[in-house]
Point group: C2
Chain length 286, copies 2
């Protein structure tokens, strides 16, 4: 093994601590503590765990927990009314609609009701447009977390070749925009890419968010490259990512483990977004 392991757990902790200090500073400057409204519809066990972690860590950073829970059979109008209520409530800095929603609900229609200024998941079309045009806005948490890891480990980005595998609205596409904004030469690959390994081997920075376990092997990595594995899959031997970690660790210069790499960053960036949203809404410390 040659790759340095990128410790997302430690970086996420530092980000959360920094957010906690930012919350204190906001209150000290005459503002009020940010309020995070997590919205859970139904009782999906995985979603319950995610929401519980988000609530716990936001409270740990000094935020107000404004959690709301609706039954699994809540209809579209009921959930829409709840989102609208949170949208206008000045105590609510950020709205997090925990996905996936029950199948009878129209997720897109509900997300579109979240005001851009409270869209702490960075999911709305409005925030996607702000990112695409290089304007200030709330960025999707997972790619923002990847940027924070790259910065913490001082990975050079300007002029670097960055390759993103995957083009989802949640990760791949905003990831490419964020890397481009930092002056990387950015390539986006996907299922139709002719020779994925060849394209990936060009990368100084390789971000894999394909949702396919072990898709990227050691032959797809340039020696010394920084490899960020966004995938997370539960298998027989525990959690694994989109990267064949054992093989890639022999070639890469640095690698995020799964778990303990990108995963912990997502909630940390959610808290950072919630603080940013509160600052902008309150006009304090912006």
């Amino acid at each position: 093994m040659t790759a340095r392991l990128i410790d997302g757990t430690a970086v996420a902790r530092r980000v959360r601590e920094e957010v906690g200090r930012g919350v204190e500073a906001l209150v000290a400057a005459g503002g009020v503590a940010p309020g995070l409204a997590t919205v859970l519809i139904g009782d999906d066990p995985a979603s319950e765990v995610y929401v519980r972690n988000k609530r716990r860590l936001s409270v740990g950073a000094g935020m107000r927990d404004l959690h709301r829970h609706l039954p699994a059979d809540a209809d579209q109008a009921t959930v829409a009314a709840l989102v609208d209520e949170l949208a206008t409530d000045p105590a609510v800095s950020g709205i997090l609609l925990q996905l996936p929603l029950p199948a009878h609900l129209d997720s897109d229609a509900l997300i579109s009701r979240i005001p851009a200024a409270k869209d702490v998941d960075g999911l709305t079309t409005a925030n996607a447009g702000l990112l695409a045009q290089g304007r200030p806005g709330l960025r999707p948490c997972t790619p923002a977390g990847v940027m924070a890891l790259l910065d913490e480990y001082e990975v050079p980005l300007s002029g670097a070749e960055a390759v993103v595998v995957g083009r989802s609205v949640l990760v791949g596409k905003p990831m490419a925009q964020l890397l481009l904004a930092r002056n990387a030469t950015v390539t986006v690959c996907h299922s139709r890419t002719r020779d994925l390994a060849e394209v990936c081997r060009r990368a100084d920075v390789l971000v894999v968010a394909a949702g396919i376990p072990g898709l990227v092997g050691g032959d797809a990595v340039r020696p010394g490259a920084t490899v960020i594995d966004v995938g997370i899959h539960r298998g027989e031997d525990g959690l694994r990512g989109d990267v064949d970690a054992a093989a890639v660790a022999e070639v890469a210069g640095a690698l995020t483990p799964v778990p303990g790499g990108v995963g912990p960053m997502t909630i940390a960036m959610l808290l950072a977004n919630t603080l940013t949203a509160a600052r902008v809404q309150q006009g304090v410390g912006v």
Copy 2:
């Protein structure tokens, strides 16, 4: 010279004729002819020429010319009030604010007043977000015109390596999104790219929108590649593009000339967007 020349003038004419037939069909289906509100502030000679062409060709396609002209010293509030008036006027299908505006005006603030549904230039943050998320919307005219040329010449895109040189909000970034949506493997290059020629040589489809005359030479083109030159510069010997056309024509498989390549497509796609906007607003033929 080996490259086939891509005849933008002819393709643009066909697109305009198709739009004209679409306008006839819209009216025949009970709708009304689309109305294009070109807005010119001041008397810049180049802007006057552009606006005149847009008006003439929109009328040629059967649209209503709802041109508005304000003096060069019109203040922000006056222009904003005009945009707001056009935004609510049901006769106005599309609003085209001719850029650049006089320096004392805040262009971004004025563009943001254009409703996404009437933003026939595809400039608003809302339409950028729709494009980034792969949702229906009005696309910026120049990159949309490039896609129309590639389609007209049946250039394979799925799985192809596409390289875009330039990352402007108007051309480079939406161009990359449009190529990605068609399943190309897309790389975006810019001024910080380490070895521009090397990256460009990977391209099956090379789109150059850098704004630098003759930036891309023959050494930057893979034999047989399709090269799209978005640049247009007035020099001592007439118009030229971002590509060294003489050298690239010896290597490329196909090339857009300057003038007569991408240029004529921009207005054609403006007309296509205006027809689309009218159809959606009128709920006819969508």
